[in-house]
Amino acid sequence: MNDALYHDRIVALAKSRTGAGRLPAPTASARRDNPLCGDRVTMDVRLEEGRIAEIAHEVRGCALCQAAAVALRSRAQGRPADDVPVLRQEIEDVLKGTAAGEGNFAAFTPVRAYRSRHDCVLLPFEALQAALNNS
C-alpha cells in the first residue's frame, strides 16, 4: 500500500535536489518548522518586478518534503509572486483528491491517503509564502 508513496517519481524528485541550497542575494527568505515532526524548510526567493526569478530551498525533512520543495520550485519559478496561492490551492486539491495536479504536482497523489504526511508536503509552500510576505 504505502510503498506506493515512495514510487520512483517522488524518490527521484527528492534525490534530484534541484535548487537545493541558498541564494547568494535573495530578495526575501523565510524558515518554517513543523514542531510535531521536526521538519524545517528555508526558502530563498529572488524577485524581478513581481515575478519569481529564482528559488532555492534548504530542507531538513523527509523525502516528501524534499520532493515538494523541488516540485514547487519547478512550478513557481518564472511566475508572478501572486500565483503562489494558486499553486498552494492546487497541491491541497491533489492531497484532497479533488485535482490530478499539473506537472510534478501529480506525483503527490498517493500522499492523499496519509493524512499525517500532508504537512510534510505543505511545509515548502508555507515557507515560500512566508518569504513572499516578508518581501
Binding site: G38, C62, L64, Y114
Partner: protein, 406 residues
Amino acid sequence: MSVDVAAIRRQFPILNRPINGKPLHYLDNGASAQVPQAVLDAVHAYETTSRANVLRGVHALAEAATEAYENARAEVAQFLGVPAEEVMFTGGCTAAINLVAHSYGSLLRPGDEIVLSELEHHSNIVPWYQLAQRAGLRLRPLPVTDEGRIDVAGLPQVVTERTRLISLAHVSNVTGAVLDVAAVVAAARAVGARVMLDGAQRAPHGPLDLPGLGIDFYAFAGHKAYGPNGIGVLWARKELLEAMPPFMGGGSMIGNVTFEAITWAPPPRRFEAGTPPIGPAIGLGAACRWMMEQDWTALGGHEMALTQRLMDGLAETSSARLIGPAGLQGRLPVISFVLDDIHPHDVAQILDSRGVAVRAGHHCAQPLMERFDISGTTRACIAPYNDTGDIDALIDGVRETVRRFA
C-alpha cells in the same frame, strides 16, 4: 529462552489485527504499549457492574467503585514497593511532573536551581522552564555522553548549594540508557537536594523498589505500562507530601470550604482534585497486577535478546548508526537509529507498509536532537509480546528502505 511469547501475545487482542494486509509488528511501545485482556476486562467490569463516583457515596455501586479504585492504588503501590497513601493518581506522567513543578515548586525561592539533563523528554523540561520563569529559578542541564547517557561525571559542575531538585529520566525515551541513580542520589544528598525520576520508560519493564533507590519523587504513565490512557502516577515520600500545598483545586481535596478560608485534605487526596480517572485507574491497577504476575527475569532476558538481535541487524546495515549505548549493559530495549541521508519519517513510513510500527522524529527530546545534531531518529521499543518475527521484519524493512533511497 523460557518465555512462551505466543502465550503472551494471545493476551493482547490488538496483535491479531492485520496492517496493510500484513501481520502487525508493533514496536512503538515507547509511545504507547498495548493492553492485555486482563486490563480490558477490569475496566469493562467497572463500567458495567460498579460504575459510580468514588469516596462520597453510600450506595452499593459507590462502595464497589471506591473499593476498586483504592484497590488499584494498592496494586500500583505494591508495584512500586511503597505505601498506598504515598501514591497519587494523575492524568498522566506529564500531569504528575506538572503537579510537582507547581506544588513542590511553589516552595522554592528565586535563585534556587533545578538540575535536568540534555536527554529529558519535553515533559520533564517544559514544566521546570515554566516554573523557572514564574519563580526566578535557574535550570542547569547535565550533559549527555556520546553513548547517549546522562553524564553523571558532570554532576560536580552543575550541582551546587542552590540545587533544590534533580529531575531526570530513569530511562531515556530515545537512547534506552538507564540512569546511574546512586550517583545522582549521592550528589543530591550532599547538598540536601531532592531527586525526582521520570519513570515513563522504566515502568513498562517490571516492578520497582523505589525506597531502595533513595529518591523522593517518581512519575510514570499508564498507557506506556499496558494500562489505559488518561492515567498516570506520582509517588512521593509522605513527609514531602505533607509539606506540599495542593496543585489543582476542586472536590475531594478540601477540608472545609468558605469564601474566606479553605483547608486541605491530607495526602493523597489533597492532590486528587475532582472526580479522579476512576476507570483508567482501575485499568492501571490491573496492568500493574499483570506485570507483577510475570517472570521478569525471563522477560528481561527475552527483551534484551531481541535488542541484541536488532542491534546486530543494524550493525550489518552500513548506513545505520545507533543513537544510544552499543552494548546491553545499563540499557533497556529502547533502540534509536539514523540512516545516512534518509529521513526517519521515510523509514517509518516504509516500515508501516510492511506492518512494522515504529516511531520517527524528535521523540519530544529536541535538546537531545541538538546534542547529536540530528533532526530525529527512528525508534523501536520492545515489549514482552514482541518476538523475533517483529525484529526480522524491522530489519528487512530497514534494508528495503536503504535500497529504495540508494
